[in-house]
């Protein structure tokens, strides 16, 4: 039971990841694909944040610093930092993706990938 409780988060993250992959692979609409991409990146972020947790730990903020040996009492700040970067990367990618979608829609008047490819090969 403990094993399940300790790993439940990973399972949910795995499901979230697979949902994202599903969207990326099986949706024809470019906008939905972009959203699926965000789902994937969120699952990764959740995975990292999960690694930074400690049972009963406080947020890693303390004016005056922490005494030696008390490290276990505070959550691990490193994954948070990394994920701040990953979030920003995700936002940036989404921004560029939206800009491209805008251009694509203006020219092809559709966002369905199959139709766009048909129009492109002509």
């Amino acid at each position: 039971m403990d094993a399940i409780a300790g790993h439940l988060n990973y399972w949910l993250i795995a499901v979230l990841f697979v949902v994202g992959v599903y969207g990326l692979a099986f949706q024809d609409n470019l906008l939905k694909k972009l959203m699926a991409l965000n789902v994937i990146s969120v699952s990764t972020i959740a995975f990292f944040l999960n690694l930074g947790q400690k049972v009963g730990a406080k947020a890693p903020i303390l004016p005056g610093g922490v005494k030696g040996g008390e490290a276990a009492a505070y959550a691990n700040p490193l994954p948070h930092t990394l994920m701040l970067t990953a979030i920003v990367v995700g936002v940036a990618t989404t921004g560029v993706g939206l800009a491209m979608i805008y251009r694509i829609f203006k020219h092809y008047h559709t966002l369905e990938e199959s139709e766009i490819l048909k129009g492109m090969r002509e």
Partner: protein, 141 residues
């Protein structure tokens, strides 16, 4: 976009709320050392305030950031970050080793100041970029 005029209620609300946005952004930026926050968050709040004004007072916002100015902010903000890195190099340390900057006696304090510097840069950059992206995605002028 749509040519309808801004409603008075929205207009008034925005006028009231914007100053608080700005102050809050500065608070988030400066207080990043002691609580959750920092440059990215502050930049986003600033960008949101600009975008909000643009949304509400659509054709001719009375206050805000033009696209060109936003580009300048984005470039200079990021450059500020990298420039601090270059400064530390010029003072003989490794890149981003704030401790070598001649800003004080206690190394930790100097480092905190260096951190503040780059956070300001990040704020400017994030604000500039988001305003630019919004501005462009909004459509033709």
């Amino acid at each position: 976009m749509n040519k309808s005029r801004p409603t008075t209620i929205l207009d008034t609300c925005v006028r009231l709320i914007i100053p608080f946005y700005l102050v809050y952004a500065i608070y988030v930026l400066v207080h990043g050392h002691y609580s959750p926050g920092g440059g990215f968050q502050a930049g986003v709040v600033l960008a949101v305030s600009v975008i909000l004004v643009q949304l509400v007072q659509d054709p001719n916002p009375r206050w805000g950031l033009g696209r060109d100015a936003a580009v300048v902010f984005a470039c200079l903000g990021t450059f500020m970050y990298a420039g601090i890195g270059l400064l530390t190099m010029a003072w003989g340390g490794n890149m981003l080793d704030y401790g070598v900057l001649p800003l004080g006696e206690v190394e930790a304090e100097v480092r905190a100041l260096g951190t503040l510097g780059i956070e300001i840069g990040v704020t400017m950059a994030v604000m500039g970029v988001f305003v630019v992206i919004f501005n462009l995605l909004r459509g033709e002028e």
